[in-house]
Amino acid sequence: MGYNCVVLIKQVPDTKRITGDVMNDDGTVKRSALPAIFNPEDLNALEMALQIKDKFGGHITVITMGLPAASDILRDSLFRGVDEAILLTDRRCAASDTLATSYILSCAVKKLDYDIVLCGRQAIDGDTAQVGPQLAEKLGITQITYVEELTELNGKTITARRNIGNGFQQVKAPLPVLLTVTGDANEPRVAAAKKMMKYKNALTPIEIQQKITAENPDAVQSEIKELAEHKYGKLVEKGLLIKQWDLDAIEADLSWCGMSGSPTKVHRIQSVVLAAKESKEIEPDEKAVSDMIHELIADKIIA
């Protein structure tokens, strides 16, 4: 028997490559100035789903909630072997915190047939690790977090090894289940050349619209719509139109989405002074050492 897997993926700014020039003067980060990448542990989650499919068969759907540019990681997933990709994009999703995000994702996942939902343990832009467990709660299913190995899948039960910090645990749970997968779980496969050839021209509707608008700067709305419809039709014939959903398509309650659905707000953002290798020489005397400690406390380096 095969298993239906849904993998939640996210496009993230490559926070490992932040330098001084991608910071705004107010200390916020210019997201657009950073290269956007496939969140690393989401690739491990995807790989785990692909291995399940290799062994047992079944169907893999990937979903990403994000801006139109996130279509890139959907194509990347198609190159690696998923069956279906969905872009969940809607301006009304903006400013969603982890609770609103997990609500929106749960509405999308509920539209699908699933046995196993897989997420990366955490995303490198927020490092919260909250969306997985919150999504499991919203779906009313069991969660297994920090999974480092899928030990066994047998009928309607799953056995997995999870990292518990100072050791590991083997746990067994009935399906359906949600797993959050760590970077130690596997080595994600690379894109397959054949699939790359097949899907390199796959597009989401919003990308098509953006492309047509750019190519026809003088066209009016109705003309663009007509051209886009024509292009959709052509891609559908070739199986290259990537599915796109908005909040209406997943029947989300708008009061639980975006800003209004987010209990947490940002009070303040401060930039961390980057290690510019700017160094100070401290005299080895009590006054200088004490001033240094004071500075480290003021900078919240010492709690």
Partner: protein
């Protein structure tokens, strides 16, 4: 979610495994005590387990005014659903204004599940907590005495202060090792409130087949502050300076390969190419020359303080604060200064 309740208590989820309290929630007690005092409310610890009443007494010694004790045979081992259910019920019964969890594996597994069920906010992996006011930009409404949940974000490149103005309780997980462990006070008095628990087997969907725990090693990766010593310390006895400085900063002691080879400290503490790679907020290098293999394991630290009597030591090339001097004099000065400030 619960309504804003200014009289609500401050809670700490006192995570325990096999009858032993985790360090992180205990570390949290001193900060939580401070928050409760600032707000003028009671501090309560919440313990779940089976036969763990003795922990309640300890938690009072660590600063709790009250301990909610939920005991049940099905709470013996931690499981997401059973623990989440019990805490969810307690939150709705007692309406605390703040609930804090250690950002341990279990804490980060549990807190989001509770937040989702409660439809309340949650901030992950905080490194500091404060009480403060917030003015909403749109309507200039002032929210007094909110919990400021302070955490690094964007790979540690920014520090964000997060608030949860109206969908309470205000909840956060707090990173391991960022707050100093309080000293127990045997004279403290507090109240133990035994809570009745109703659980059925279906509240425990997981079957724990086996569990392997290693003897707890030092977790250098999770340490926010690391004090590392090198061969320059001279002897195992003198290496105690590293331990002392690490202890007073709430940091972890570490070492170079040279110091480990000289048996000053166990290999678990080794930083560098053949040891652990770390990137703490603060790395204090004591008597370390700074071989490239060592630098590979620590140069990504946010702030580096180096103490060495050799002005040409390579470690100074990556240090933000260079102290050229005798470590036997400088380290005690640092300890003294830290003790005075905290």
């Amino acid at each position: 979610m619960i309504e804003v309740n200014r009289k609500g208590e401050v809670w700490v989820f006192a995570e325990q495994h096999d009858g032993r309290l985790e360090d992180t929630p205990v570390e949290l007690m001193s900060k939580a005590r401070h928050l409760a005092d600032t707000l003028g409310v009671k501090l309560a610890a919440v313990v779940l387990g089976d036969g763990v009443k003795d922990l309640a007494t300890k938690l009072i010694q660590y600063g709790a005014d009250k301990v909610y004790l939920a005991e049940h045979p099905l709470l013996r081992a931690y499981q997401t659903n059973s623990y989440a259910k019990v805490i969810f019920d307690l939150i709705h019964k007692h309406t605390p204004q703040i609930v804090l969890y250690g950002a341990t594996i279990a804490g980060r597994d549990l807190a989001p599940r509770i937040a989702s069920a409660t439809r309340a906010g949650l901030t992950a992996d905080c490194t500091d907590l404060q009480i403060g006011d917030h003015t909403t930009a749109r309507d200039k409404k002032v929210h007094k005495n909110l919990l400021f949940q302070i955490r690094p974000a964007f790979g540690g490149n920014i520090i964000a202060t997060i608030i949860n103005p109206d969908r309470w309780p205000q909840m956060a997980t707090v990173r391991e090792g960022v707050m100093p462990m309080p000293e127990p006070d045997g004279k403290r008095k507090g109240r133990i409130v035994e809570e009745e628990v109703t659980l059925a087997q279906h509240d425990l969907p997981l079957e724990i087949l086996e569990e392997h725990k290693r003897e707890k090693k030092v977790d250098l990766k999770a340490a926010r502050i690391i004090v590392a010593g090198g061969a320059g310390l001279g002897s195992k006895d003198n290496f105690k300076l590293v331990w002392d400085l690490a202890n007073c900063l709430g940091g972890a002691p570490a070492a170079t390969r040279a110091a480990v080879d000289l048996s000053f400290i166990d290999h678990d503490h080794q930083v560098g190419q053949t040891g652990t790679t770390v990137r703490p907020s603060l790395y204090i290098a004591v008597g370390i020359s700074g071989a490239i293999q060592h630098q590979a394991g620590m140069s990504q630290s946010q702030k580096i303080v180096a103490i060495n009597n050799d002005p040409d030591a390579p470690i100074f090339g990556v240090a933000h604060y260079k102290i050229i001097g005798d470590l036997n004099e400088v380290v005690p000065m640092m300890i003294k200064s830290v003790r005075e400030k905290s």
